[in-house]
């Protein structure tokens, strides 16, 4: 038997090694078949590895696609809701400015005062909507995943700084009850949640009555709980199921004083960190929101 002409380059090198004289001997043939066998084995193995790699990358792709789809849908609704919210408040401001022109001509001081008050409120609402938007665009990035040891005084100072424009000239008392013992958590998440909940409590406080807000932050080894409790106007829970769902789940339903974006944002953050929200409210009595996060000590 002769070696076939023009075999594969690697094969011919192997053939030359096994049959140095160019003669296909029986002894050489056995050795050669062993070698070929080995090649087939490793080829099989390679194929399995390749298949596994392919499966993994397909799964990853699917997962990424899914995540992108969710993000996209979210941005879509969010942008729609934001635009809607901003448009509404801008309309209010334009309407109020037109009124202001009319009553300035008439020099009706009493009306001018009232309009100014409404204008200030609308401008503040618009600001808090935009602030929520800024927070959210930031929280979509990685910032909220930076965990640090939480310092009580620093956190309170920051919260007060953020809400001062809402408390100015109002009868608001905020009681902080933070029990922290080497709490390792995201400062950013705590700030966003507290600022948004306290803002809502101030916005929905009873007119002509002292607004009292109890804010607490407690934790043990397993859980962390944030609580904000107020004595505001509250919500009638009987009629509120749908409203509540909308407030937490759809930014577009927030055709209302910038309430929606804040709660929507909180829901997003809570979901992402495996937390739970407990909302309780009574009309004319007040509202209590409690948010719980599991603490992953071993992580």
């Amino acid at each position: 038997m002769k070696i076939p002409e023009n075999p594969n380059r690697l094969l011919s090198r192997q053939l030359k090694k096994t049959f140095p004289d160019g003669e296909l001997t029986n002894e050489g043939m056995n050795k050669f078949i062993e070698l070929v066998n080995e090649v087939y084995y490793s080829h099989d193995e390679d194929r399995l590895i390749y298949q596994r790699a392919e499966q993994i990358s397909n799964r990853e792709l699917e997962k990424t696609n899914e995540e992108l789809q969710i993000k996209n849908d979210f941005l879509d609704t969010f942008n729609h809701g934001m635009a809607h919210d901003v448009k509404n408040h801008t309309s209010n401001i334009i309407g109020l400015v037109n009124m202001l022109k009319k009553y300035s001509e008439k020099q009706n001081i009493d009306m001018i005062k009232q309009i100014n008050q409404q204008l200030e409120m609308s401008a503040n609402q618009l600001t808090s909507i935009v602030q929520g938007f800024l927070y959210l665009s930031r929280s979509e990035s990685k910032i909220d995943n930076q965990f640090t040891i939480i310092k009580k005084d620093e956190l309170i100072e920051f919260i007060n700084l953020e809400i001062q424009f809402l408390t100015k000239g109002k009868n608001v008392t905020i009681n902080y009850n933070f029990n922290l013992n080497d709490l390792f958590f995201s400062r950013h998440i705590l700030k966003i949640i507290f600022v948004n909940l306290i803002s809502n409590s101030i916005k929905y406080s009873k007119p002509n009555k002292e607004c009292i807000i109890n804010v607490s932050l407690t934790h043990d080894f397993n859980n962390l709980e944030l609580k904000v409790e107020d004595n505001g106007i509250g919500i009638d829970m009987k009629h509120a199921q749908k409203k509540l769902y909308n407030l937490f789940n759809q930014p577009e339903s927030s055709e209302n004083k910038g309430f929606g974006v804040g709660l929507f944002l909180i829901k997003k953050i809570t979901d992402r960190n495996n937390g739970t929200i407990n909302f309780n409210s009574e009309l004319n009595v007040g509202t209590q929101v409690a948010i719980k996060f599991p603490l992953e000590i071993n992580k």
Partner: protein, 130 residues
Amino acid sequence: MKYNTIILVDDNPTTIFYHKDVVSEFEPNADIVSFDNPYKFIDEFKQTFSKSTEPILLLLDINMPEIRGFELIELLEENEEDMSKLDILIVTSSKLNSDLEKASRYPNIIGFIEKPIDIDKLNKALSGLN
């Protein structure tokens, strides 16, 4: 068309504040009643407005967190209220074609008006030019 009663339903008190002003200039002799809670309006409609013998104009916010404007009309229909005297102007923050289409299903809707409302827009909406 002259209206002796004009009702405003909107969940935002500031919106009601300036709508009230525009509407009272538009129809100086009309009674203007406002609701920032749509369910209160539904109750009041049963009690009072359904018994009216004169035409009533309702400026209805299309998008409230508690209930959408269209759903509110459906609720009135479900309750079998007498809506024969009720003319509805839908108030929106932006006109969507899907809403315009939907409106054709409700005979009480006579038009749309976009915020911020003014006397010109009210005139146009009520003369069917909008």
